[in-house]
Amino acid sequence: MSDWEEVKRLAADFQKVQLSSTSQKLSERNCVEIISWLIEKKILDLIFTSDGKEYLTPAQLVTDIQNELFVSGGRINLGELAKIIGVDYGQITAHLNEVLRSRKDIQNVLGQLIDSHYITRIAGEINEKLQQIGQINVGELTITYDLPADFLQQQVLEKHLGTLIFATQDKNDPKIFFTESFIARSKAKLKGCLSGIIRPTLVTTILVQTGISEKLFFTLFDQTSMYGTLSSRLPSAQYIPNSYSRSLNEWTLTFYKQNAYLEFDTLARIGISDYKSYIKKQFSNEDLLFLESSVASKTILERIEADIDECISSKSYVDLQNNLPSVFTAKDTSLILDKLLVGQKQQQTVVVEDFIISKAFIDGLVTMCSESVKEKAKQIVDSGKYQQYIIEVQGNQGKPQKFDDNDEKTDKREERRKKAAGGKSGGGTQGRETKTKSTKKHFRGGHKVDNDDDVIATETKKILAVVTGEEIKALIERFLEEEGLDTLVDPLTEHLLPNLNEQGFQIAAEIFKTKVADQNVNRRKTHNELQEKVNDLVSEVRLFSRGIKLFSGDVQVQLVKYLLKTVCSDIVTEILNYAAAETTSNIQSTDNFNNDQKMKFVNELPNEFKTPLQPLVKSLSGQSIDDFMNAVDQSLAACSMIIKKIDKKKDRTIVLNHKHKLLEELNTCDDVALVLHLATLIVFTSATQCMLHASGRHLASVLSFLKAHVSEGQISELMSYHDFVTLMLSNGSEAENAKEKLKEKMQFIKNIANEYKSTSGEKA
């Protein structure tokens, strides 16, 4: 039954459910319809939410905006606001004014709503930050807070400056704020830094070291500038501490005071780049001499001047290297010297490298060397170098040149012809030839001009080393070493060499002059001697030829030939020697010349000798003594020799002398062949009163001629002796035998000659 009860209860429930009033619900559609109708009728003012399912009253929107602003901490984006409230962005902006009107502390900043609480809060934050960092830039704040700089500047910072933010605004840059403590700290830091710096430093380096901003640095610098100066107002400027510039000035001043000079390099090294103006500024009242590498004071100049004066007066030298500061370069030294060595001083001194040497000192050296120079000069003259040199010099302006000129002319003509014919393709060798010729010509021409001048002047230019550098060096070296000037040996030698050479040359010239004078005397003597000699020879020849004439035919010819070959040759040789000496040819002696060589030599002689001598030499190979004699006459005339007139008396004495000479010779002679020869000649001379010049070969014919003048016995003796001699000379088997015989007979032959003399003498 319980089930039924339950059914009953359920039925009752069912009824109750059915009878319970139905909720009177408006359908959504109806609602929308009603509301839109109401809005249409302007009875209601509602705002649709963005999804269109909800409505808001404007007042609700305003409060919602305010609430959301509060919730989000005083700052909210309008876009975000629209999303949160669920209203169209346009509605928000439309009702924004209402919000702003109702709440004065709310501002719309770039699509964001910000109320005063927020501003206060960030002001507090900024202040905190400021206290921490000490300095703050609006630019940085805009990044951290994502707010426009103007807003931050005006609404946050400047508004709360002094109330919430305890800082100072930078006067130079209103965007920068800093606390007093920060300023004080920075200033202290900078002060410390600046006072600590003792050498010029770049501002950027200081900034990096101190961590101070560039702008702050320059503001603060003005307040702390008592420690130094800035080269400019740029970050690249240099900070020059006062202490540094002071010490710099002190240093330069003391250095200058002590050393009387300042080196530019040093100044540059210690940081004075514009040293010239610096020096001018610093030492404006000093009298300075600007050199290449440094500046020198008047005192240095005075000192050097005094040194030079002293050097001149003491006849010694000054070592500038030691007297000038070591930093002075060679150019500096020369500048100083240019300034000091003027007028008389310049004449009294010689500058060698870094030394100023007084003329007197040099003169001393010169005298020291002069002895040796004299010796050398003498040597040179004696050795003939000088003459050779002079000849060379003169040779360039003498006759040979004329010949050369002629040659050149022909050459030129030739050349021109060649050029016309061959043009440039004249061949390498020819081209070179012409070239060398032209240079030669040039060279010679140049000398020609020189040689017109004073001889000695040209000679100094020429390289005739009377004394060599080494010799001078050796001479002065010891003296200079004693003086402590060994470094100057070379330059001084160089300096002295031309002088000494000139001197030596003059000495040489003098010596040569005296020598030439002597020589002229000698030559005159030799000339006379030669004349004498030639005369003697000529007369001998004449006498010999007379003797020859006694012979007939074949024998005569042979004898003439022999005579020409011997005595006449001697004469020619003498004459040629003279000619050689006169023309100063290279050939010193023609003694051993054969006829051809003689001819060749004669052809090389100058014309004045060539023409008379040519026939002379030719006549030697002729067959006539008369021809020769004529030639000799002419030649001697050319050689300015006089042939003495023929003197009969003298002839006699000559013949006698000749005979005596022969006799003496005979008596002292041991040679068996020669004995015969001499004896024969003596006999001939005695018999004919004529001299004979014959060789052993002619003896046979001479003996046959003598038959008429000598006794039978004598002639047979002589003939047999002659036979033995020929036998001996033939070197046959009986040679030894013949020699023995000859020795036996020798005395006999000698006797014949002596006796014949006496007999002939009696006869005469």
């Binding site: 339950e6 359920l10 039925a11 069912f14 459910v17 059915q18 909720s23």
Partner: protein
Amino acid sequence: MVDESTRKTLSSIPLLKTKAGPREKELWVERLKEEYQSLIKYVQNNKAADNDWFRLESNKEGTKWFGKCWFFHDQLKYEFDVEFDIAVTYPTTAPEIALPELDGKTAKMYRGGKICLSDHFKPLWARNVPKFGIGHAMALGLGPWLAVEIPDLIAKGVIHYKEKSEPSTS
């Protein structure tokens, strides 16, 4: 098939479990309880949706059911008596709902005012035995029938708005 809103309504009606007719004493009680629970839920749903459209009550045994149903048309409420019996073959066969007032006024009605249900109703019911109950029959049978037939009948002038109808059934 039934339309979307009907399906939705149907799904919100709790299903039944016990398969028992009025003759099976014990089980019928059980069934009757489930029927009531189902109906209560359905009415509650309707009321919640502002869609209350009928009143029903039964005899003590729950075999005879009667009540009213109504339909709004042109802002006028047309009200009709409704009655039906639970056959012994129930729940295998669906209850035959009848509107006696309209007997003979429309072709879609059997004798005695029993409404002609759609072709779909019966196979649908048959498939859902024993899960469907009286609530389902109302929602699937009478509801759609009223929605189709009443405006038609009004238009034909077969039924008229009764000004003096009782404001409420009880």
